[in-house]
Amino acid sequence: MSYGLQIEVWGDYALFTRPELKTERLSYDVITPSAARGLIESIYWHPGLHVVIDRIYVLNKIEFTSIRRNEVKSKVKASDVKRMMMGGSVPVLCTGDDIQQRASTLLRNVHYVLEAHFEMTYKATSSDNEGKFKDIFRRRLKSGKVYSQPYFGCREFPAHFRAWNSGSVPTCGESKDLGLMLYDMDYSNPKSIQPMFFHARMKDGVVQVNGERVLK
């Protein structure tokens, strides 16, 4: 394992939806490893690289707020699009008929330091290595270059980021059993993508991820 990176991320709101409560969304208490991975991947990603989250430092107290919004029910129907391609009528999603109000319970004022390292995938070329990816990453963190702006769970909750260079992290210091939490999705069989969970425990504001047993 190469020496990892520490990335400081913060934002006004966050919503890491619990899979069991996603119609009226309820956020987990802290960022999930998969959300942290997604956040990092929107800064830089390469097929040869796999981001592994080692530790999550929680800097701010966990606080929730709620918001209810008018949302649409349906998705764009593939069959409608095909009909339109054939010269049929133009599909339209009418919010008057297709609306529902959904509440979200979100985190507010979040601030984390994510500790991660890189592993190589089978798609890595001979010139790829952990050190190279780490250096690319360091430069991106410094210059603020992104593929697309990272976010906390949903795109309306943008995340700001920079490298954490100031030594030990001043966490919120809380300890709490966070229960069973989503670790990531298992994409190894694209025909059947399965969720993976782990038992998350926050100890003195730190959630240890790497090394915990992952349940499928």
Partner: protein, 308 residues
Amino acid sequence: MSEPIQNRYEFVILFDVENGNPNGDPDADNMPRIDPETGLGLVTDVCLKRKIRNYVETVKEDEPGFRIYIKKRVPLNRSDNEAFEKVGIENAAELAVKDKKKFNQLLKEANKNNDIDRVIRDYMCSKFYDIRTFGAVMTTMVKGALNCGQVRGPVQLGFAHSVDPVIPREVSITRVAITTEADAANKSNEMGKKYIVPYGLYRCEGYVSANLARKTTGFSEADLQLFWDAVINMFEHDRSAARGQMAVRKLIIFKHSSELGDAPAHKLFDLIEVNKNDNVTVPRSYSDYTVTVNESDLPTGVSYEQRD
């Protein structure tokens, strides 16, 4: 379709409301949204996106390539035909019209090669401005495919916050027309209420990813200019009894020199200061505020522009 945009952007929208309700909270009896802890007014991202869609719909009037997928009302004419344009499958345009059988076969083949999702995605992006801009979730033809049905658009908006706490007021109103016959016999008017924010200046921050424009939706320079116009004018065609007087006061656009950008977004947003003027205790108009952009701290490679 013109070329996708080449530069990353960040933008800040400053808009205000006078004696109106910018965004009602369905959880609070349609009172203006408020962050309970800070007292700051909120306007959701989706509220502003709705206004942008409406503006584009008004201006473009269903011009090809500028349709709006998510509409507020069902349009009267839903059935005007549109010929298939070349998307993904070579020469599919003529085929769709001339030889439906062969076209169907091609679609089937694309289906087999797991290509059909891309064909559908590209087609929808080329036709609908809102999908090209904000993205959409589509059902997918290939069962169990990875995220094929999800299109992330290049434009990303956060929630808008008011600069200072707002204090909404409940205004009671009466009307003399009574709804039911039975009520009409007993009373001469009905009471109602509406909520207003006397004044609020709101700030919304947004992002435009050139990478998503190039790799997914094809959001072009012309689309971007239309987007800026839509932002500037989003309240001009959204007058109603509830809204009061709303206006976009300033749009500040940061343009990076490249797709990936030259500076972190938070550093750019921090360059914009919105302050209440010295002698003002209770702000009641835009002139009670001063907006400054610290140009001298602009990172190299980033240029900025103000529109009002």
